[in-house]
């Protein structure tokens, strides 16, 4: 992969919390237009990696590059401005805003006009397929699932180049997961996105990504096409338990 094609590069990133080493010398790259699956046991450092990329945490060691630019230690909003958007594993409800308002806020990153931003928000919400009746509901009234969709919509509305999805499908029924996967594929191709998906639902990951990276105890233990990774004995031992169907 030549440099301009690398959208995200994480180099030797280490992050500790007291005695816990959440990330241990992690290095990985994501190329333009890729959808990369990031999997690994609970507590293996996936969310922490997202946090280090988006500026929520500053890595103790190592660098993060986005489109060739060193973004280590930037503020989250600066990272967002550069074009990285994310969703959150732990739902963080916006209790007093409506769905539409929340998504509009995302869209305001690329424009100063509220009108324009609202238009973008409407487009994104339609794309995601959140029914119109839900748009006026407050964050305190919607279900966990709707939350995740709004989260996704808000992230998309910021007009990102790189999208980090943290367990977006968790809690969804299978057919909804399928629908979501379709949506993600659609925006991916529409907008020329690059995506990293963290998910424990293997089918979801496999249906989306051509390449999967496996974290275990803060280290990358495997990397490659989904089928290959899924049959990797270390991955089975550490993560899958048995070979998935």
């Amino acid at each position: 992969m030549s440099a301009p094609d690398v959208v995200l590069r994480v180099e030797n990133v280490t992050k500790r919390f007291g005695g816990v080493v959440a990330l241990n010398d992690v290095t990985l790259s994501v190329g333009r237009g890729e959808i990369v699956g990031l999997i690994g046991p609970n507590g293996s450092g996936k969310t922490t990696l997202f946090n280090c990329i988006t500026g929520v945490y500053k890595p103790d060691k190592g660098r993060v590059f986005f489109m060739g630019r060193d973004i280590t230690g930037l503020q989250p909003h600066e990272v967002a401005k550069l074009g990285i958007a994310r969703t959150w594993q732990k739902v963080r409800p916006f209790r007093n805003l409506t769905v539409l308002e929340a998504v509009t806020t995302g869209a305001l990153l690329r424009t100063d006009s509220v009108e324009e931003a609202r238009k973008t928000a409407v487009e994104v919400l339609e794309l995601i397929g959140l029914p119109r009746e839900e748009w006026g509901r407050l964050g305190s009234e919607i279900t966990l699932m709707e939350h995740k969709l709004v989260d996704l919509a808000r992230a998309l509305a910021t007009g990102p180049k790189l999208l980090l999805l943290d367990e977006i499908a968790a809690g969804l029924r299978p057919h909804e997961q399928e629908r979501l996967a379709e949506v993600i594929k659609k925006v991916w191709s529409d907008r020329g996105l690059t995506i990293v998906v963290v998910e424990h639902v293997m089918r979801f990951v496999m249906s989306l990504s051509k390449r999967v990276v496996v974290l275990h105890e803060g280290r990358v233990i495997a990397e490659g096409p989904p089928e290959e990774v899924a049959s990797n004995p270390r991955v089975i031992e550490a993560y899958l338990g048995i070979k998935p169907v």
Binding site: T54, H77, A80, L97, G106, T158
Partner: protein, 316 residues
């Protein structure tokens, strides 16, 4: 701005002016009306930082006093007429607010800590001014006129205050409909999530703080005009708290609620003071306290909640 908001502002203004004309023959009511409107303006300004942005700011009276004192001193020492001076007063207040706001937001002081920090700011300034200007009351010069924002009649003073109030309302409405407003409301909900969608939370909190403190500082001189004198006691922690409380009793973020609360409680306070204060001392404040408790417990969504309820009921 939608037509209905414009219409309601126009109605509100018309009503206020009508009341002004009606009572213009009575100095007492005129002064009271002026004080109520000024108080409402302070509450409305607070709404920007407290209601929209969700920062528990308890330093309102610090900016008010600072702006008021700076304007007065510029007038008394340098002969700068307050019409010009208030802008400087507002700027100084905003300057201080931003100066303190930068590290405060930088290091992530929020919630109760922010509230206590701002409350102690009032005490610090109170003490510092006490140290440098002594306990004395400084009386405004015996000069009157629009140039000094100190007209001869209460009615004119009321007009000045009303203009300020109207300006604050418009600023509020403009902000809430704009990008800033969206960002501020998001900050109020969740700062980290806002950051991740590109909101420079520190910057926007600073913007809100600056607007609020500027308005409060500039309008502070009108408070001095009503007092006719100023001293370090203008830095009054209790006043700052009651301004914030009016903002919340009104329903956080709702400008009409905030103003309604300011009007109702300020007028209620004066009514109780003037009817009961001389009869059973303290009963007025006691009832005032009871009113706060009752509204707080029964109508936690504030007066705005009550309005909404009425509106729903009306539509039915």
């Amino acid at each position: 701005m939608t037509r209905s908001t414009l219409l309601s502002i126009a109605l509100f203004q018309a009503a206020l002016l009508a009341v002004g004309f009606l009572v213009s023959g009575n100095n007492y009511y005129m002064l009271l009306l002026t004080q109520v409107a000024l108080f409402a303006a302070f509450v409305a300004a607070w709404n920007i930082i407290g209601g929209l942005t969700g920062q528990l700011d308890l330093a309102s009276s610090a900016y008010m006093a600072l702006g008021g004192i700076v304007t007065s001193l510029l007038w008394m020492r340098l002969g700068l007429p307050p019409v010009v001076g208030v802008w400087v007063g507002g700027a100084v207040a905003a300057g201080l607010a931003v100066l303190i706001g930068i590290p405060t937001f930088r290091f992530g002081v929020r919630e109760v800590w922010y509230a206590l920090m701002t409350a102690s700011l009032v005490v610090i300034l109170n003490n510092l001014f006490r140290y440098f200007m002594g306990p004395w009351d400084f009386y405004l010069p015996n000069k009157w006129g629009w140039l000094y924002l100190r007209p001869r009649t209460y009615f004119e003073l009321f007009i000045i205050v009303d203009v300020v109030l109207l300006a604050v309302i418009l600023v509020n409405i403009y902000i809430s409909g704009s990008k800033i407003g969206y960002y501020l409301r998001n900050i109020k909900e969740d700062e980290l999530v806002s950051e991740a969608v590109g909101v420079d939370t520190r910057l926007y909190k600073l913007i809100a703080l600056a607007i609020y403190s500027f308005i409060t500082g500039a309008a502070g001189f009108l408070q001095v005009v009503i007092y006719s004198s100023f001293s370090y006691r203008l830095f009054d922690a209790g006043l700052a708290i009651s301004i914030a409380i009016m903002g919340i009793i009104g329903g956080l973020g709702s400008i009409s609620g905030a103003i309604a609360a300011a009007v109702v409680f300020r007028a209620l306070g004066e009514y109780l003071r003037s009817t009961l204060g001389g009869v059973i001392p303290g009963l007025d404040l006691l009832l005032y306290g009871v009113a706060l408790i009752v509204v707080g417990i029964l109508k936690p969504e504030g007066l705005a909640g009550l309005f909404n309820q009425l509106r729903r009921w009306w539509r039915k």
